[in-house]
Amino acid sequence: MAKAAKKILNDPRRAVSQMIDGLVLASDGRTRRLDGLDAIVKTEIPDDKVALLIGGGSGHEPIFHGLVGDNLGDGAACGQFFAAPAPHIIYETAKAVHRGKGILFLYGNYAGDNMNFDIAAEMLTDEGIDVRTVRVRDDVAAAPPERMEDRRGIAGDVLMIKIAGAAAATLDSLDEVERVARKAAANVRSMGVAVSAGSIPETGKPTFELADDEIEVGMGAHGEAGIARQKLAPADEVADQLMSRILPDLPFSAGDEVALLLNNLGATTMMEMLVVNRRIRATLAERGIAVHRTDVGTWLTVQEMAGFSVTLMRLDDELKRYLDMPCRSVGFSHWGTR
């Protein structure tokens, strides 16, 4: 067993709570913490706005809580490391962001998240609050297309929150926001590759072991098994491997316009991702698939895990419009695309 990871934290058991304090402070007054809870909400939410609630386990910063902000999530319920938030946290966050127009729950498809968010949704529904749920299931490595329900949510979350956030800031019915989010969810596909493991501070134990010359293609955002453990390969090969799974899955085809997102799982260099981007773009160009917008960065991490994922979302004019709007939060800010 490898040695415990070296991290600059105080008490690891209080790390999530202290992280949230630091996150709120970093938002320059734009968010606040719910008293006594691991939850963060926007300071100003207009009356009559459809609410967007996001959330999930911590340890993936900046997702989810770092994406609470303008044209993004209205609030996030935070769990402990890699653990879905408890129902009462979700419930309280939902109450804090609700403005009478209903709430869209948007989160990654994991058994823990599903159960906890569902419990909260049932509590809210009992009070007459309209709650809709969209689960992100973009990881094509997690299950074959016929078992879509079994797919995990990975970095597709970022584009989903971007689009749902812009839609929720613009459209005035929950029905409409849900419709847009479902369309985006139906059109997003991702796959990642892990190069080395991350660890939970409290245990310090890497969540998996990879040999010095091995990578795992398709690994999930908590170290869940992928589809192939193999020798370290050149960037072009790895890019091709990911694309060969992602492209036929939707499928993406000639004439499509897509958003392309490269997400750093933590410790990978941006140089690696850019070299991969070069190859991905060549493949897309070959297939006649146009890239409307590219995002390269660090949004859904797995602590200090090295690796990255590639996300493609097929766009229509409506999705483009929401994607192109500006957004602002600690973890994701963008001027927008003109």
Binding site: F81, P87, G112, N114, M115, K205, E224, A225
Partner: protein, 209 residues
């Protein structure tokens, strides 16, 4: 400890405290089991939940159901993840099964197991054979079915849970984080099933003490 006849509210709370201590004592074992086929947080999550349960059980609300509800809510609120929802559900099911009862009897204990099984199956959308704690719970419920008295019922349930844990080794996970492993999850026991066996094992030890 009245084991062959029944457990009153004070004894039930004491039993639940013993359960919490047993779970907490197994933090590393549970984490390691989850490292093998999940994300390595099961032990620390269960510890968080059962530490909170201990605080709640310091001054539990009246009644057996009060103690179970306080335990379930503490777990639900503090564990997080899949375990928080399913183990919270187990104890909350207990609160319903024991509502209005002055003692835990063999019959109400068996009802608790059956109700818990049903509630978890509904909440998790799982059936037996998917390599979850439900397998341990189902084995436990079946084992306890014919038991003549409470002590025997708890003993049978605890043994059943262990068989359930064993059974999960032979299963391919189709839910939870281990799902992705497919065939590679074979040979490993399910962490949540181990937790359930620890919980029932601590109850057995309590009534045997």
């Amino acid at each position: 400890m009245l084991a062959t006849t029944g457990l009153d509210a004070a004894a039930a709370a004491a039993m639940l405290r013993a359960v919490a201590h047993a779970v907490i004592a197994n933090t590393d074992r549970l984490t390691d089991a989850d490292l093998a086929i999940g994300d390595g947080d099961h032990g620390i999550g269960m510890r968080r939940g059962f530490e909170a349960a201990l605080v709640a059980l310091d001054a539990p609300p009246p009644g057996i159901d009060g103690a179970f509800r306080a335990t379930g809510m503490a777990i639900m609120a503090n564990t997080g993840g899949a375990a928080g929802a399913v183990f919270g559900t187990v104890f909350t099911a207990g609160a319903k099964a024991f509502a209005g009862e002055a003692e835990i009897s063999a019959a109400s204990f068996r009802r608790f197991l059956d109700d818990a099984q049903a509630a978890v199956a509904r909440r998790g959308g799982v059936t037996e054979g998917q390599k979850t704690m439900l397998d341990a719970l189902a084995h436990a419920a079946r084992a306890a079915a014919g038991a003549p008295d409470l002590a025997a019922a708890i003993r049978a349930a605890a043994n059943g849970a262990l068989e359930g844990v064993e059974a999960t080794k032979g299963m391919v996970a189709t839910t939870g984080k281990a799902r992705s492993l497919g065939e590679r999850s074979l040979g490993h026991p399910d962490p949540g099933a181990i937790s359930l066996s620890i919980i029932l094992g601590a109850m057995r030890d309590f009534v045997a003490a």
